[in-house]
Symmetry: C2
Subunit: 306 residues, 2 copies
Amino acid sequence: MPFKLTILGCSSAIPTINRNPTAQLMNVNERFFLIDCGEGTQVQLRKYQLSFQRINHIFISHLHGDHYFGLIGLISSMHLLGRNKELHIYAHKELKEIVDLQLKASNTELNYPLFFHSLPEVDETIILEDDNIRISNLILDHSIKCSGFLFEEKRSSRRIIKSNVEKYNVPFDKMNSLKDGADWINPQGEIISNDILTTENSLPHKYAFCSDTRYHESLIEKIKGVDLLYHETTFMKDLEDRAMKTGHSTTYQAAAIAKKGKVKKLLIGHYSQRYKNLEDLLQETKDIFSNTSLSFAGLVIDFKEI
Amino acid sequence: MPFKLTILGCSSAIPTINRNPTAQLMNVNERFFLIDCGEGTQVQLRKYQLSFQRINHIFISHLHGDHYFGLIGLISSMHLLGRNKELHIYAHKELKEIVDLQLKASNTELNYPLFFHSLPEVDETIILEDDNIRISNLILDHSIKCSGFLFEEKRSSRRIIKSNVEKYNVPFDKMNSLKDGADWINPQGEIISNDILTTENSLPHKYAFCSDTRYHESLIEKIKGVDLLYHETTFMKDLEDRAMKTGHSTTYQAAAIAKKGKVKKLLIGHYSQRYKNLEDLLQETKDIFSNTSLSFAGLVIDFKEI
């Protein structure tokens, strides 16, 4: 099943002409999960042709504006565009009051049910779970209450063995059930075991989103072995004191977490607007952890390719 | 003195990739006044190189999101960029609570004084006035409380008569005081009357901003003879019923107000996202009032050239 991340914005507090504030979209089996929603996110979704109405769940890490000022605009546009299905928002509880007040001021009664879920006070609590995905919170160490999110695929589809499927003349419309583990009963009533027709796929994918946070080693165990770790690098290593003071991390610190957590790949972002050349941040991070990429709007990471 | 309007956004409720929601900047004698502040306005200001920190007064017409969802982001960025001088916001009173709640949620104590001024309940009340400018409210007929704004230059500088200034050897550094009406006393103690050195300039400029509103004829007297009328045209003329129902106007209705109000020029905007080709709206409006322009982001109108 698809397990893909699209970056919609990667700036820190102040948006610039070229860098939108934080927002990311996870596509899990064609269901869309939005992570953070900085100002301008709805336009970014349009730009990358990601339909608003396929988003049913939005996760807001914390209530600094660069992570949620675009939410009320998205909620409003969903309404104006005729949405009628439920929308669920997972955030710190103060957000409900903010959204309610704005809807009241514009005399808006939404066409669709909007549910708020307070983020748990206890770390590593499951926030949302179904057959395909489990999403938990990761309490971070920022200047205000802040939560990362861990997305864990619960099972991956089995992989078709093409030669055997052809040999046993399995019709094309049975492929999905084979991927789900079903046996095949041919027109003669013979049972062809799933083991013959498919093979086990890779391990279920895991994505950890960690923004904004100071360096804190207790995170390491929680993100251990994920395929992809997004960890903020607001600053370069020379500004470690400033990072500590403002509740952020440096390139070296993000890389240390990735290395100690033995993650497959590190994605950095939430760059301070002072940095014009992001390659410097990338290079510094790679000094410690080589499999690192810069996030930028429009970047798509397919977990199958990590 | 400069009296210039810059359009930052001209879309109606739903922002699109190419059209930002409503925001306009008036430059009156190098002081910046922001009118409305839809989502993304701070990035638009950057794009057109208009410094945030020169804005001391912000006017919000009403509390539909496409007119103010960008305000909290702008307030936050002004803070993060080290502003310390006062900012004044003129809006319906509910906005104060919305902004206060968002600042509280992010645990932000602004570096600068932020003052809210409730828009008057009585029509055509002066909101702000100094030696150069008088700004009043224009109560509009929308689906929620909504106010237009009338910007009136109080006096225009006198125009220098170059040949006479040269004849009397007036030094260059006295030009501004001549423009302000002062006489010139030469080194011999002779008084050269201002009438000899300058001539009267054009009449003081007037700008009326009217968005969002139904067609209502009581507006005509209030905007009579302005140099520029911005009047919304959310819809084309075939959607007059929809305009009435939603509290908006059509091309024909905006043009009728401009014609009956004998304004010099009409600027239309707040286009429904259904219209891809704005030339159709322009042509329809021009059928009734020929001196009409489309608003678009980046458009600058210098009132001297109207």
